[in-house]
Every structure is written in structure tokens, then in C-alpha cells.
Amino acid sequence: MKPLLTPAMAPYVLISPFLLLFLVFGLFPIVFSFVLMFHTWDPVKGLDSMQYVGLENLIFAIEDPLVWTSLENTLWMALASGMPQHLVAIPLAYLINEKMGRWRNAAMGAYFLPYITSTVAIAIMFSTLFSTDYGMVNAALAEMAKWPWLNAVMPEKNIDWLGSPEAIKPVVSAVVFWRYLGFNVILYVAAMQSIPRDLYEAASMDGAKSWQKFFYITLPQLKPMMFFGVTLTVIGGLQLFEEPFILTGGKGGPEYAGMTTAMYMYRTAFDFNDFGLASAISWMLFVIILIMTVITNKAFKSKEGQA
């Protein structure tokens, strides 16, 4: 009997589930959004209402002050949440790896927990913590203000964390930092474990102290992982959506201070029904992410051309 699948066909059939899913949910949206960038389209009017407008959407997006406000917000928050992630994660990973012994996995798990926590739970928790009149953050600040030596630096009134344009960006950045710190810690601990122990032993024999081992062995050996981690942070930071979305109730907060470009793009499409403009913004964002990733790549490249 002839086999149902010939050896020549088998690979294609076996790969087809992935390929189909990728074509439908990966490639098609990308191509469609590229086509949409050159069209106006009000989706409720159906596909027939698509009209070719050339570069109009792109020009509109470039001239749109809200696009620039959102880009500024995105860069601010990406930097404020991204930099500390790595500056804290590396020493923390070193501590966990070197000093925590059998508690290492438990500590990593604890730091990783926010990363896998549901966004809804995070939204409820942080909006409760940062509530102006009933939140624990303000309650703690008010309590600290009673201490004589802290009195001068503590705010007199409750801070409107989620309702004032000055406070919303730091709050969102703090939440992003809290959420992704654990992920970076895991990356760095994994990288540290692959550093040959004999390097440390040799250093010890030469009389190197703990901090010297960290700066002269661990840090240089971590460079490839730093490149990977920083690249992910740059991309993730520029695509920031979930955290500001949930903390500002999906609107972007007062004076759009918490509105990121990804959020503005989403709102342009789904709240304001302008899919052409939204696609143009998404491709603008793509170019910016590309440029930033190339810059990151250049920054991490060593003289030998290796990351």
C-alpha cells in the first residue's frame, strides 16, 4: 500500500501547522498593516471602504503633536524603567548566585513572580497601593512625615500618583521595573553560571577580593547576555503598552502624560476608528525600534566585532 505521506511531502505536512498559524497571525497582519498605511479605512464600513491615499497617513502622523508627545513619554518611561532594571539586576544576580547558596532558586522564583502575574491582578494591586486618599504608599509617606528628620522632605499633602501628570510616568516606570527585574535577574544568573569557576579560583589565588572578581571577571563575561537583555529591554520599553494602559484606565492619564506610542496607536485604531493612521504610527514606531536596536548593537560590539 502506498503510504499516505511520501517522505518528500512529510516535512511540509509536519511543518504546516506552524506555517499556517504564522501566515495567518504573523505575516498577514504585518503585510496588511503595511498596505493599510497607504489607505484610509473606517472598519465599520467594511473592506470596500478602503481608499488609497499615498503618504497622507504618514505625513499626518509625523505632523501629529500627539504622536510626538507619546514618543516622548515612551522614551522617558523606557529609559526610567529600563536602565534601573539592568543596574539592579546585575548586582542582584551576583548576590543571588554567589551568596544565597541553597536559597538561590527560591530567591530567583520570588523575583520572577511579578513577570508571570496576571496584568489584571497587577492593575488592581497598584491602583490600590497608589490610591491618593486610601493608598498604602501615601499612608506610608504620611507616617514617615511624622519622623522629625524626614519631616522636611516629605510631601505635605497626599500625592495624586495616578491623577497628576508629574507622577504618572514615575509610577508606570516603577511598575515596569518591578515587573521585569526578575526576568533580567534570571538571565544574568544563567549567564553567571556559565562563567568557568576556574577563573574565580585563579583570581582568588592571586588574592582578588569579591568586588574585584565582580568587576574584572563577572562583568566582562556577562557582556553577551547584557547585549541580549538590553536589546529585549529596548524593544519592550519602546513597545510599552500594558502597564500604562491599565494604570491610566486605557486613556493615557492627565495631559496624556502616561500615553505611550503603542497605546496611542491602539487608541487611534480602536477608539478613534482610524486604522490607516494607526498603521502609519506602528511603522513609524517600528523604524524607531530598529534604529535603537542598531544603536544598542553598535554600543555592545567589541573591537573584534563580537557582542
Binding site: P43, K45, G46, D133, Y134, G249, E255, F272, N273
Partner: protein
């Protein structure tokens, strides 16, 4: 075993014609409209035993996104589409919904059975009567009676004029420390809805051009909101936030202006512990406006349009159903006949035995139709952002309105 299988096959085959005959009507809705439809089905299915109704319930935003996608691709369209007022502008102008005045629907005279402003909201200039109202939200002012008594402020002080409203707020703040309103923006939202000329929308004129810069409604609204902020009378909290519900529970916010349906929310989950402390009255300067509202529509590409229309009529023109939706789900009836039921004369225990429903009914009859435009939500957003700048950065009002107008016009002219 074989015998058993044979018997089950026979039983299955006997059932099949019955299954095949059943027509399936799909209703897409958001909470609590999905529950209202389900509750109304019992009665309707007595007349339509061969119709199976599938109610697809989704969360509010998800539902409207799903309907947008369904209209965009013409797939997965329900037979009955529920649309909330906030989304009506863009859906009504889509051209993808049936004109209910045309055959086979013939809404015709029956339209007069429903409050006129809501009927007008469901009408599109180019596509006809595309949506049928089922519930409305006549605006009301809910206030904490205990706080007013403590501050010796009367109800009429709050309703007479915006100036007396602010004076009342100052007294309340002084005597009790409570804020007058949750957010100055709430007050702006009412003032801009007062005195809209016929045919115009809140933000746009008949031609779809922004009227934000030159309409005196906006200037006054911004001035009143600014006054409320500078006097420290607003708690700076957004509706539907944790803090908002906490303030309503604790009485730290005295007044909340919203649709009459807020009474039900306060009673059921927002502040059930405050029973008897709240009262409802008209909005300041007796402004008659509405908050939200639910509509039913039939997509042009729906499969069972006539049955869908029969179900919509049952939901919207049947007084018993409308009343049930009001009693059980606080959906204020759009059907005038349902507003004449005895339920309206009954005192509301949560509101201290007040016969508040009569007042809401009166408001509903005074509301003027306002046109909806597809860029309404964008305009609202831009105006809110400019108001924020006025409130927090003291941006001059004229400049703020000018900037809002420019931004809205830029988008609207696309």
C-alpha cells in the same frame, strides 16, 4: 451492546429533523444587556418555539471591538447587535446596519412610542433609522442628604444655578470638609451639553465642523470647572475608580451627577451601606441631558433579519419586558408606555423613600435630541486634555479652546 448502539442511532435520527428545523438567532450584547435579553426570552419563545436564541455576551469594550471587526470583515455578524450610545456615532454612519423604517421592518408609527431624543440618536442622516433604543439614561444629580443637612445647604441651592451650586459647595467644604464633586471635569461635561441647537452635536455642527472654539457652552463649562478647582471643591478623582467608590461610600464626595441608573449601581455595589442617605434631584439649572443608552440594530448581512426584528420589538416595544429590565437591571425604559407603570410611583427606599423615578421620567421627556458624530470620542478626549491643562497649569481658557478646536478640526477634516 450493538442493540444499544442501534437504538441510540434511531433516537438520534428521530431528533435530527427537530434540530434541523430550529432557526438560530444570535444576539451580541454586553453586560447587563445580555442578561436582560436572556430574561426576556422565556416570554418570546412561547410565540417562537422553533427559534433558538444564542446570546453572545462580552465585556463592554470587547463587545464593541468584536462588532467593529465583524462589520469590517462581514463575518461573525450577529442578527441582533447591541450598541452603546458612546459607539453609536461611528456604527450608525457605517452603512452596515439596516434602516428599520424600510420593509420588512416598517417601524413607522411605532417610533412615537419611544422617547423622541433616543429615537433621534439612533437615526443617521444618510442611512436612516439604524438603531432602536431600548434603555436611556436621563441625567440626575445624586447627593448625600446627610452631608447637606450637616452643612445646612438646601437642595435648591444646588440646583438653582451653577453659581449657587458652587456657593453650596463652599459651605459644604467649610462645614464638613467633604468635596462637592468627584472631578471638575464632570461639571464641564454637563455644561457643554446644555442648550445644544437642534441638528448639532456636542462638538460638531451639521457639517461635521468643530464648534469648540466659538460655542459659548465650552467657555462657560471651562470657567465653571476652573472655579470649582480653584475653590478646592473637587476631589480630583475619576469615576469608576477605587477611590471614587470609596468616596461615595464614605460621603467625602457630596454630589454625583450621572444617568439615573447610577441609583441602582449605588444600591447594588458602589455604596450599599449608604441606604437612605442619598437623594436624587435635577441637574443644576434644570439641564436635561442623558448619560449613555442602549440600542439594538440589525446588520445588513445578518441571516435572520425578520426574526431578529421580532425579537427587538419584543425587547423594546413590549411594556412588560421594558419594565422587567428596569426593575431587575436598572435599565431605564425608552418605551414611554413602560414609564407610566405603577413602578414609577413607588418610593425608592435607597433614596430615603423618594419617588425619584417620576423626576427622571420628567427629565427624559425634556431631553432634546443631539446628533452623534464619528469623531465624538476623539473630540471629548482632546477637550478633556485641554481642560486638564487649564485646571493644573492655569492655561488661559481661550487658548485651551483654540488649541482643542485646532486639534479636533485637524482630525475631523481628514
Amino acid at each position: 451492546m450493538k442493540k444499544l448502539m442501534g437504538l441510540s442511532m434511531v433516537a438520534l435520527m428521530m431528533c435530527m429533523p427537530a434540530i434541523a428545523q430550529k432557526t438560530v438567532v444570535t444576539v451580541a450584547a454586553y453586560p447587563a444587556v445580555d442578561d436582560i435579553v436572556k430574561a426576556a426570552l422565556q416570554e418570546w419563545q412561547k410565540k417562537n418555539p422553533n427559534v433558538e436564541v444564542k446570546v453572545v455576551g462580552r465585556e463592554y469594550a470587547d463587545h464593541h471591538t468584536a462588532m467593529t471587526t465583524a462589520l469590517a470583515t462581514s463575518t461573525g455578524l450577529p442578527d441582533v447587535m447591541t450598541i452603546e450610545y458612546g459607539y453609536l456615532g461611528r456604527f450608525a454612519q457605517s452603512g452596515g446596519l439596516e434602516d428599520l423604517e424600510k420593509p420588512p421592518y416598517f417601524l413607522g408609527d411605532q417610533a412615537s412610542k419611544v422617547v423622541s431624543f433616543a429615537m433621534a440618536q439612533g437615526r443617521s442622516a444618510s442611512h436612516g433609522q439604524v438603531a432602536m433604543p431600548t434603555d436611556i439614561g436621563p441625567g440626575a444629580m445624586f447627593y448625600r442628604n446627610d452631608v447637606l443637612l450637616k452643612a445646612q445647604v438646601t437642595e435648591s441651592e444646588l440646583t438653582q444655578s451653577w453659581e449657587s451650586f458652587i456657593r453650596g459647595g463652599q459651605k459644604i467644604k467649610k462645614a464638613t470638609g467633604a468635596y462637592l464633586v468627584a472631578h471638575a471635569r464632570d461639571v464641564k461635561d454637563i455644561v457643554i451639553r446644555a442648550g445644544i441647537p437642534a441638528g448639532q452635536g456636542v462638538y460638531f455642527d451639521e457639517q461635521g465642523k468643530s464648534i469648540i472654539e466659538n460655542s459659548p457652552r465650552f467657555k462657560r463649562a471651562f470657567e465653571i470647572a476652573q472655579k470649582i478647582r480653584t475653590e478646592g471643591l473637587d476631589a480630583k478623582i475619576n469615576p469608576w475608580s477605587n477611590e471614587w467608590s470609596e468616596s461615595l461610600k464614605r460621603g467625602t464626595v457630596t454630589v454625583q451627577m450621572m444617568g439615573a441608573w447610577l441609583g441602582g449601581h449605588l444600591q447594588n455595589w458602589l455604596a450599599p451601606n449608604t441606604s437612605g442617605l442619598w437623594r436624587s434631584t435635577v441637574l443644576p439649572e434644570r439641564i436635561a441631558t442623558s448619560w449613555g443608552g442602549t440600542f439594538y440594530a440589525i446588520p445588513k448581512k445578518a441571516v435572520n433579519k425578520e426574526i431578529a426584528w421580532d425579537l427587538i420589538k419584543h425587547l423594546t416595544l413590549n411594556s412588560k419586558q421594558q419594565q422587567m429590565a428596569f426593575e431587575k437591571y436598572n435599565a431605564f425604559p425608552a418605551l414611554i408606555e413602560a414609564q407610566n407603570e405603577d413602578f414609577f410611583n413607588q418610593p425608592v427606599a435607597f433614596l430615603g423613600g423618594q419617588k425619584a423615578r417620576l423626576e427622571w421620567k420628567k427629565t427624559a421627556s425634556q431631553i432634546k435630541p443631539t446628533m452623534v458624530f464619528k469623531n465624538d470620542s476623539l473630540a471629548e478626549e482632546i477637550v478633556n486634555a485641554e481642560l486638564d491643562l487649564v485646571l493644573t497649569k492655569n492655561k488661559p481658557i481661550d487658548q485651551a479652546l483654540k488649541d482643542a478646536h485646532r486639534l479636533v478640526q485637524r482630525r475631523a477634516s481628514r
